[in-house]
């Protein structure tokens, strides 16, 4: 686009130049042109040529002031801005990287904390289960022991009761005989009969 603009500009410029060239030439060709013509072409006037010297000095001073002082000032401000923006972007990128790292750390910590908590929960549950199992086993063992002892006591009581049953049967049979017949049966006979009866009834 710049190229085409330049080419158009050059074409336009050459057209203007060709037409413009005619202007001063005509002015110079006109009789008495110096007197009534273009003051710009009055090169005998020292003020016209003096412009060149003054212009040269002024242009040089302007160039020196611009190139040494004014333009570096602008360049400095632009460079400072570029640097500031780059630094700010750099800081922002670093901050973002830090934030990303922090978020990752957080997620990592959260994951490990969850895993740890899960492990703890499982351990506690397992411990509780084992404790409950142990307690149950202990209780079962204690109860079994109690049952065993109770059964032993019952058996002992039963044996004792069965042991004294013969004596009670002997005494009851003695009393019954005595009540019924008024006689007294010898103890060994009675015991033998009671024993027979008991055996007959399955005692």
């Amino acid at each position: 686009m710049a190229r085409s603009a330049v080419s158009i500009t050059r074409k336009a410029a050459s057209f203007v130049t060709s037409s413009a060239l005619a202007l001063p030439l005509m002015a110079m060709a006109a009789p008495g042109a110096r007197a009534v013509g273009m003051p710009q072409l009055d090169f005998a006037n020292p003020l016209v040529t003096g412009q060149v010297i003054w212009g040269g000095v002024i242009f040089l001073v302007l160039y020196l002031l611009l190139s040494r002082s004014a333009l570096p000032k602008v360049e400095k401000v632009l460079a400072t801005r570029r640097l500031t923006i780059e630094n700010d972007l750099d800081i922002a990128h670093r901050a973002k990287a830090h934030a990303d790292t922090a978020v990752n750390d957080l997620h990592q910590a959260r994951r490990s904390a969850m895993a740890e908590a899960q492990a703890n929960v499982e351990k506690v549950v397992e411990d509780a289960r084992l404790a409950a199992l142990r307690q149950t086993q202990e209780m079962n063992a204690r109860l079994a022991e109690d049952i065993r002892q109770a059964e032993a006591r019952v058996a002992a009581a039963r044996a004792q009761a069965l042991g004294s049953l013969r004596q009670i049967a002997d005494e009851t049979a003695q009393a019954l005989v005595h009540q019924v017949s008024g006689a007294s049966v010898p103890g060994d006979v009675l015991a033998s009969r009671v024993n027979d009866a008991a055996t007959a009834h399955g005692f």
Binding site: A13, V16, M38, Q40, I58, L65, L66, L71, V74, K76
Partner: protein, 249 residues
Amino acid sequence: MAAGSTIDALGQFELHPMLGGLGQSLHFSQSPVMMIVASILVLAFLYVGMRPAAVVPGRLQAAAEICYDFIYNMAVDTIGPEGRAFFPFVFTLFFFILAGNYLGLLPFSFAFTSHVAVTLALALLVFVLSVIVSLKAQGAKFFAHFMPAGAPVALAPLLVPIEILSFLSRPVSLSIRLFANMVAGHVMLEMFAAFTIMLAGLGLVGDVLAVGPVAINIALMALELLVGALQAYVFAILTCIYLREAVAH
């Protein structure tokens, strides 16, 4: 100035000595005064504009930075990386001419770019600079450019003089383009202003008709604002193009 029925459209380009006898002896006319004013304005624009040196610029600072970037990009895009070295020169040239063109539009002012001596001096400065840069960058190869590459050697007697003439016409076209544009603009402004005064002397009908040239002058002023910027741009971009050809191998 309108003097009777004649219009002195060229009188505005006459130079007058300033500061009395001292100006006469130093050949110091209103033209160098306007050059100094233009230079001060350009410098003030940059110094005042860049004084805040803010990271987020205000209006004037932004304007100064845009001007800087505009010329910097023009120099570097056209000339290439070597353009950085010529940037201050192109900047000075552009704004010296621009300020001169625009200052000339103010009433009671003077456009120093309407003097061919000034524009020719500037064009010769550009021309001599480009020749020096060419010789420095390309050495003797610079002269090979006067014989177009690939052209039959038999045509050399014809082509070489044409190329040399074309090369030598650069400062002429560069200077006369700017000079002629400025002169034409100011002559037209003066002519239509004179028409207004002449018509106003014709009574009521003339007063009404005189509005026409005033309206045209307003339009011409807008045109001159465009031409002033365009000519400064053309001068600067052609300088860049000549310098690019100078640094190109």
